[in-house]
């Protein structure tokens, strides 16, 4: 049980310890290098490159370069060229290390001449307007045909940037950029894959770098609100008040007729006919008012007002939509380097 716990702890601590070891080894190697102990430095740089140290890519590149330099200063040209060859394969864009003197430069040039390597150089951040072209730098150690493609995270080819001859460090232009409208504000990860085919011979080399693409948000204008129902005027009069005219006429007419009969002296009478006649006329008046009013329910002035209101809103909406479309269309496409996974 104790052994298992110990093993678990070792596993957990293994990587930090290894990283620390690589850093420590690099420090020791640098001290040996500065003390002109080039053989000792070469041994230490070789240890850094051991997979078990878990050195990072940048640490490995440093170790690989200084290993070649240490060998050269130690008088071991063959080992130096071999070390530089390995370095060039993974860093085709690296410049010649002239700072170490002519012998190192000569060894480096020899190494570069004896290996076919190619790849993408460091990606520069680019903010591209509509019509611009993106550029990527590629490097090959010998004349070659270089093809660059853009792949999505699933490895599908999203764009073929074409094939072109290259020698040394060249620039690849990507002029058929995707529409920025297709991109959100969140960066999307792609991979730029470069395949180099030597013009002489059958050697091929490949390099791949991750990139991020996104389109920053546009400063768009808010759409005007649709006129609320409360702002829309009724285009027809409601039926209710007009229909009530019938009730008013009938009610008052009936009241007049009833009053003529009820209030007259019992012995005199004689009023029912007149009351009924006028009551009927009153009712008829209510009916006429209803019929005329029902035929005049349309409110053309309100209809014209509503039409104008809607047209004004539609014009404002279309104007805002046009402005937004123009602003969205002017969004730049941003290409940035991405951290390798």
């Amino acid at each position: 049980m104790h052994l298992r716990i110990l093993a678990g702890l070792l596993l957990v601590l293994a990587r930090p310890l290894a990283a620390q070891t690589a850093e420590q080894l690099l420090t020791q190697a640098r001290e040996a290098f500065e003390n002109l102990d080039f053989e000792g430095a070469a041994r230490l740089y070789t240890r850094v490159l051991d997979v078990s140290t878990g050195a990072a890519e940048a640490q490995r590149d440093t170790a690989q370069l200084y290993l070649g330099v240490s060998y050269e200063f130690a008088g071991q040209r063959t080992d130096a060229v071999s070390a530089f060859r390995t370095f060039v394969r993974s860093n085709p864009c690296a410049p010649t290390p002239d700072q170490f003197g002519a012998s190192v430069t000569a060894a480096f040039v020899e190494a570069r001449g004896s290996v076919f390597a190619g790849g993408v150089c460091a990606i520069r951040s680019q903010r591209l307007a509509r019509g611009d072209a993106a550029t990527f730098r590629v490097a090959v150690t010998h004349r070659a045909m270089v093809r660059a493609v853009l792949q999505d995270s699933a490895g599908r080819t999203m764009a073929d940037l074409g094939e072109q001859p290259a020698a040394g460090i060249s620039e690849i232009r990507w002029s058929q950029l995707p529409d920025p409208a297709a991109f959100g504000t969140a960066p999307v990860r792609y991979s730029l894959l470069v395949r180099a085919r030597a013009q002489q011979g059958t050697e091929v080399a490949e390099g791949i770098v991750p990139i991020l693409m996104h389109a920053p948000p546009a400063d768009t204008v808010a759409h005007p609100l649709e006129p609320p129902d409360s702002a829309i005027r009724p285009e027809r009069r409601p039926t209710g008040p007009i229909a009530a005219d019938i009730a008013k006429g009938l009610g008052v007419g009936a009241a007049a007729a009833i009053a003529s009969a009820a209030l007259a002296h019992g012995s005199l009478k004689g009023e029912s006919g007149k009351g009924l006649a006028v009551g009927t006329a009153i009712s008829f008046g209510g009916l006429v008012s209803f019929m005329v009013g029902n035929g005049r329910r349309d409110l053309p002035e309100n209809r014209a007002y509503n039409l104008q209101l809607r047209e004004r809103w539609t014009a404002a909406r279309d104007s805002v939509a046009a402005v937004n479309l123009e602003r969205l269309g002017r969004r730049p496409l941003v290409i940035e380097p991405a951290e390798p996974r």
């Binding site: 009069r237 007009i242 005219d245 002296h265 007149k274 006028v278 209803f290 009013g293």
Partner: protein, 241 residues
């Protein structure tokens, strides 16, 4: 007499300081019936009249004059000349109801003599404006309080009702109205009397002093239910009695 004075004062006070002056002309058929120990007498005839009024949105006052000859319709009944002077004021309690008070002085003249009655009255006017056309239906009821006058028989009380409708257009307005006035007499006289009238007429132009002349028409405009557009109870001028 005291009641008369009070009502007259009310009429005068109700006269608006500034308002529309209205005119109205009408004609109609009056049918007077009375019964006493001698049987039923009936007189009927054409009457014409008119009124002059002043009105504001909250009140109106008017004075009217009617007259005509009532021909006898029963035997042993004389023809009678009929005249009536009316003064009345109305205060609108609400757009659809108003309190009315006034006085009616009416006279019947025949070869046998002349009867003059003074009939103070109070009552309520109900208005029902139409929506489809300029116009309204209206109904009013009045109590005749403390009548006084000359003649053999003076009424002690009475009631009056009136119902009608005004209807018109921007060009002209007409109205038809039915009135019934019933009078009560001391029981010792064993007398009943009533007068029914059917009137038709037309209001004249309303004149705002110092301003333009307007036809006495208006139409209730209803566009929707929002408070700002609720129908306003604008009504035609009510024919004065």
């Amino acid at each position: 007499m005291r009641t008369f004075s009070v009502l007259l004062l009310l009429v005068l006070l109700a006269r608006p300081a500034a308002g529309q002056v209205t005119l109205q002309a009408h004609a109609g058929l009056a049918d007077r019936r009375l019964s006493d120990q001698g049987g039923i007498e009936r007189q009927q005839g054409l009457i014409i009249g008119g009124s002059l009024g002043v009105r504001t949105p909250r009140s109106q006052a008017s004075i009217g004059l009617d007259g005509g000859q009532l021909r006898a319709k029963t035997g042993a009944t004389p023809d009678t000349d009929y005249g009536r002077l009316t003064a009345e004021a109305t205060i609108q309690l609400a757009p659809w109801v108003g309190f009315a008070a006034g006085i009616v002085v009416q006279a019947y003249g025949s070869p046998l003599g002349t009867q003059r009655w003074i009939l103070p009255r109070v009552g309520l006017d109900l208005n029902f404006p139409f929506t489809g056309l300029p116009g309204r239906a209206y109904l009013s009821g009045s109590a005749l309080l403390g009548p006084s006058g000359s003649g053999v028989a003076v009424p002690t009380a009475g009631t009056a009702v009136r119902g009608g409708a005004e209807l018109g257009s921007r060009v002209a307005v007409v109205f038809a109205e039915y009135r019934l006035e019933r009078l009560g007499f001391p029981s010792s006289l064993s007398r009943d009397e009533q007068r029914g009238e059917v009137l038709v007429g037309a209001p004249g132009p309303a004149v705002t002093p110092g301003l333009s002349t307007n036809r006495l028409t208006s139409c209730t405009v209803v566009s929707d239910d929002s408070p700002s557009r609720r129908p306003r109870a604008e009504t035609l001028h009510r024919p004065a009695s």
